[in-house]
Symmetry: C2
Subunit: 235 residues, 2 copies
DNA sequence: CGCACCCTTGAAATTACTCAAGTTCAGTGG
DNA sequence: CCACTGAACTTGAGTAATTTCAAGGGTGCG
């Protein structure tokens, strides 16, 4: 907690015009004159694993474009239970809700070293008023988030612990089934799947024993996608 | 299935200018000249309980503003399991995703007699291009949907069956704790809470026995909100 | 009346949770 | 260099919750 703010490192003011991943980000469609409407600095920042990008307390003044790394969005129940409601990958935008209300709905925490662009709310609002080219992108981000939320519910909160974990691993492996996947802490796994830490641990262990994943380094695993797919349906 | 399309009843072409609930709907902020941009008919329709507004197969050409009644959004897993991912109330918009892609992501089914306005995608797209007054409303709908999705996950897919049902009932009672609440079929309850029909049935029965709800007519109940709140936290 | 459909209930089997003890491992200080 | 510590993970055993499978109501409708 204590470290969250302190840990953020400022990397300079972003030069959006020359952004290396601009086709991926919110400003993809902006034209040269549009950029002159940006009257507040957009900061490039990095956060180490465990650092908080923003939380649900306090006003939200900015949205964040994820440039690299992985972010979890956490929501709490009154009794203190926490659920991870989404993972954000590069290209995603965190904190869109400040464009409608003024507070964030989640706590956003870096799971790995994360690089972001922090965009003041006013910048988005002004661009949104003055140029239609941002709309399509904004709509796409909203859509992306909502689709992910719905899928998260049906895939990761339905069925046995075994089936849920299998589906999560398939998601993480994505379209590159051979690329190793970083596993999360057992506590985070539990919060994603709606199960306890112990059940998460046991299920991971079972997957290793049965060869559905092969651990090639501590908390890094190769997925046996066909067998995982099997496990995601049955059970 | 067979009845879904047949059952829809056409009630005429909507006169949005004079809409009785316009402050509630998507077109709330439009001005007189904006309406002239609407070049395709917006139909008022009603659906009986059980009818399908649209489904995930086939192209989506329209979004729907819910004028009255209650709609469930259903998503299916490959193995046939179904989850209800959201409930739509009057004022909500169903099918926003066709503004980004071209297909619907859910199957939308009326739970009660439902009245809607069916708005062709092209109408929204044109208005969206030409007038900024729709943007704010669109953003609010996206936000509303996303917030509901996240809350649905943390509240209705976390904890014991008892706690989940209690939270659902509290949601349904809303700000009018004395107004009777219609219960859903046990199958729908299960699909909302991620539990089986039998567990849903047993838990409802238990709530009745323990006085957390009082059934004043078949499938209509009064909620004892304080005790429900109790049950939603403990367990 | 009899059939369909939905809901309820029971009993056994399974799954997941809880609580508790042990393990591993990295970081710290003697 | 090594013991010590804390944090995260693992594992076991008992318990609680949920699912599964099966049978038995109730109600509306042809």
């Amino acid at each position: 907690m204590r470290r969250s703010q302190i840990d953020a490192a400022w990397k300079g003011t972003a030069e959006c015009r020359n952004c290396g991943i601009r086709d991926l980000v919110l400003f993809a469609d902006l034209t040269e004159p549009d950029f002159s409407l940006i009257h507040l600095p957009i900061d490039e920042m990095t956060f180490p694993p465990g650092a908080t990008l923003y939380d649900a307390e306090g006003d939200g003044h900015s949205v964040f474009t994820i440039r690299s790394g992985l972010v979890k969005l956490v929501q709490y129940l009154p009794d203190g239970t926490q659920r991870i409601v989404r993972l954000l990958r590069p290209g995603a935008v965190a904190g869109l809700e400040v464009l409608v209300g003024t507070t964030h709905q989640h706590t956003a925490v870096a799971l790995q070293e994360v690089a972001v662009c922090r965009i003041p709310r006013d910048v988005i609002e002004r661009l949104s008023r003055e140029t239609p080219r941002l709309h399509r992108q904004l709509m796409q981000r909203w859509h992306q988030a909502l689709q992910q939320a719905d899928d998260w519910l049906t895939e990761l909160s339905t069925g046995s612990a075994r089936a849920r974990l299998a589906r999560l691993l398939i998601q993480l492996a994505g379209d590159a089934p051979d690329r190793p996947v970083r596993l999360f802490s057992r506590e985070d796994l539990g919060a994603m799947l709606g199960i306890t830490m112990e059940t998460a641990s046991r299920t991971v262990a079972e997957f290793k024993r049965q060869g559905l994943v092969r651990e090639i380094a501590p908390n890094v695993a190769l997925c046996n996608v066909p067998e995982l797919r099997e496990a995601s349906g049955i059970d």
